[in-house]
């Protein structure tokens, strides 16, 4: 035990560890966190939520005023996590009387770790379904993919038709290296890539082919939020002994058919462990206006072993496996309602609940011990 105490004391004297145990720095970190939250909130009014998140909350550092480096929330939270961890391990006294405090420290650590898991692991995407449509894939907001599949007519016996898709994220094409899709026996060679593009309908008609008939693409100014960009590019495709020059553009609703092969540049797809079918979408408007008061979607959730009907409303999401499906918005396409769901996959969504339980128990035990001690002292007097 003495040896352990000596080790802890020795560790506490290490300059790096002292830096993390410094109360003044810990308070400074909390003040910085407050400042970043306030600054980020004001910044998003003019620059949008995405830009604000990237600059203040998802960065280690950012440059303010063109030259002044400022720590981002990621750095501040990482410091606070390590700091709290070291305090918990090196400073905290592990005695029965301190059980409450120990649990509170662990609760805070789990809470911060949960934030880290959500930041690095959570995937946000969306799913748009017309009444009567089903899907087992969601679409990314800002990432794109080139997907390839082979069209094959097949009997489905009333079951949902399925196709095997091979896809590559467009950000992996930036090096210009050829990509081989083994199942489709197709090679894609990027020639020109645009982060944001638009069709050039004045291009010579003999140019590369595209799904929508345009023969040229030109660069367009990038938007503040990449979710609004429509990337595109020119590619050489080698398949079945033939070479084709093609254009792919994210704004095209239809894929390009090259014989049996089909290729499309589209939002990155995220497979769900189930499929969702929209059975009915209902919207209720405020009287005399077109402003929605309430809208909800009745969906059929088909998991491998179970199929059930679920109602998804605003503030009443559907939760299954690691997924939460929120009713996000709606639109109309050719007179048919389209329901839009925000889908969040978060493997750590239980962690904040666990942290809350630890914090609650910690406070209950800590204040309970204090209360008992106070009563005993009063009785002793």
């Amino acid at each position: 035990m003495d040896r352990l105490a000596t080790l802890r004391a020795r560790a506490c004297r290490l300059p790096v560890i002292r830096w993390f145990l410094d109360l003044r720095l810990q308070i400074l970190a909390l003040l910085l966190l407050f400042l970043l939250t306030l600054w980020g909130t004001l910044y998003q009014v003019e620059h949008g939520l995405w830009a604000s998140q990237q600059r203040f909350f998802y960065s280690w550092f950012f440059v303010s005023g063109g030259f002044f480096p400022f720590p981002g929330a990621k750095l501040v939270l990482a410091y606070l996590f390590v700091s709290l961890l070291l305090v918990t391990v090196l400073r905290l006294s592990y005695r029965a009387q301190k059980t409450g405090l120990i649990l509170i420290h662990w609760g805070l650590l789990v809470l911060l770790a949960g934030g880290g898991i959500t930041h690095f692991q959570a995937v946000e995407s969306f799913l748009s379904l017309k009444e009567g449509e089903r899907s087992n894939l969601t679409s990314d907001y800002r990432n794109w993919e080139i997907s390839v599949w082979t069209e094959r007519a097949q009997a489905t016996n009333g079951l949902p038709e399925k196709r095997a898709v091979e896809a590559i994220d467009t950000d992996r094409l930036l090096g210009g290296k050829a990509v081989v899709f083994p199942d489709a026996a197709l090679t894609l060679i990027p020639r020109r890539l645009f982060q944001n593009a638009m069709p050039n309908i004045e291009a010579p008609p003999s140019g590369p082919q595209s799904a929508s008939g345009f023969t040229g693409l030109s660069a367009a100014a990038q938007q503040t939020d990449p979710a609004q960009d429509l990337p595109g590019g020119e590619f050489t495709v080698l398949a079945a002994g033939a070479t084709n020059q093609i254009l792919l553009w994210a704004g095209e609703a239809s894929p390009l058919h090259l014989g049996e092969k089909t290729i499309q540049l589209r939002r990155k797809r995220h497979p769900l462990p189930a499929s969702l079918a929209l059975k009915r979408f209902t919207k209720e408007e405020h009287p005399g206006t077109a402003v929605a008061r309430r809208y909800e979607s009745r969906v059929q959730l088909s998991e491998p072993r179970l199929s059930r009907e679920v109602l998804i409303r605003m503030n009443e999401p559907l939760r299954f496996a690691d997924y939460t499906v929120y009713q996000s918005s709606y639109s109309e396409e050719e007179g048919v309602p389209v329901s839009v769901f925000a889908v969040v996959k978060n493997g750590g969504r239980i962690v904040p609940y666990l942290a809350s339980v630890l914090l609650f128990l910690g406070m209950l035990i800590h204040f309970g011990i204090m209360l008992v001690g106070r009563i005993r002292r009063r009785e002793a007097r």
Binding site: L4, L85, V89, A113, H119, F120, Q121, K130, E131, G132, E133, R134, S135, N136, L137, E145, T156, L159, E161, K162, R163, A164, V165, E166, A167, I168, D169, R172, V179, F181, P182, D183, A197, M198, P199, N200, P205, S212, G213, F214, T215, A220, A221, Q228, L230, W249, A250, G251, E252, A253, S254, R269, P271, S275, K279, E333, E334, G335, P337, G348
Partner: protein
């Protein structure tokens, strides 16, 4: 000692888990493509576009994205094109047309021009903007008349390029053609 080791190991494990990344390269997944029976009013495929051309205009046919081309009096060529999605955005298209005319108005001028445009709808209920770019070009230089209609999942542009005086002669018919745009059967 063991509890302290655990105290160090657990958060490290959590951090390591949180930093794992998806493997690089080609991904594979299964996509369900079947749909339940569509609700009333739903139609498969992209909608066709219908319009009513002025009687004096000659139809030249179209291909690909160019749905139709016309020859208007004064040998002015007019083209109706269909772009998928939002066609790259209205402002980006507008700047492209300015580029084709060899003019580059400033941001403020462009914004003021956009704000001055009146919003109409076509017979088919699609939002329509009618643009006359002659204010940006020199007298006698080629200029453009543009109609920009936003469909449900596409954009229609009707474009005529000629001298300002030639365009003035067809402007009424041009606007009438743009307003006649509607979904096909």
């Amino acid at each position: 000692m063991r509890s302290r080791l655990l105290a160090l190991l657990l958060p490290t494990l959590l951090l390591a888990l949180s930093c794992s990344r998806e493997p690089e390269g080609v991904r594979r997944y299964i996509e369900e493509t079947g749909a339940l029976p569509r609700g009333p009013g739903a139609r498969a495929g992209a909608p066709l576009v219908q319009f009513t051309p002025p009687a004096a205009w000659e139809r030249l046919g179209g291909s690909g994205m160019r749905l139709e081309a016309f020859r208007a009096p004064g040998a002015v060529e007019v083209a109706l094109a269909r772009l998928p999605g939002d066609g790259g955005g209205f402002e980006a298209n507008l700047r492209r047309w300015f580029g084709q005319l060899g003019v580059a108005p400033g941001n403020l001028e462009v914004q003021q021009f956009i704000e001055s445009l009146s919003n109409e709808t076509t017979w088919g209920g699609w939002p329509l903007m009618l643009l006359d770019l002659s204010a940006f070009t020199r007298e006698g230089a080629p200029t453009m008349l543009i109609a920009y209609a936003q469909g449900p999942n596409f954009v229609l542009t009707l474009k005529a390029s000629a001298s300002a005086s030639a365009l003035r002669g067809i402007q009424a018919d041009f606007n009438a053609l743009a307003r006649s745009l509607r979904p096909g059967n």
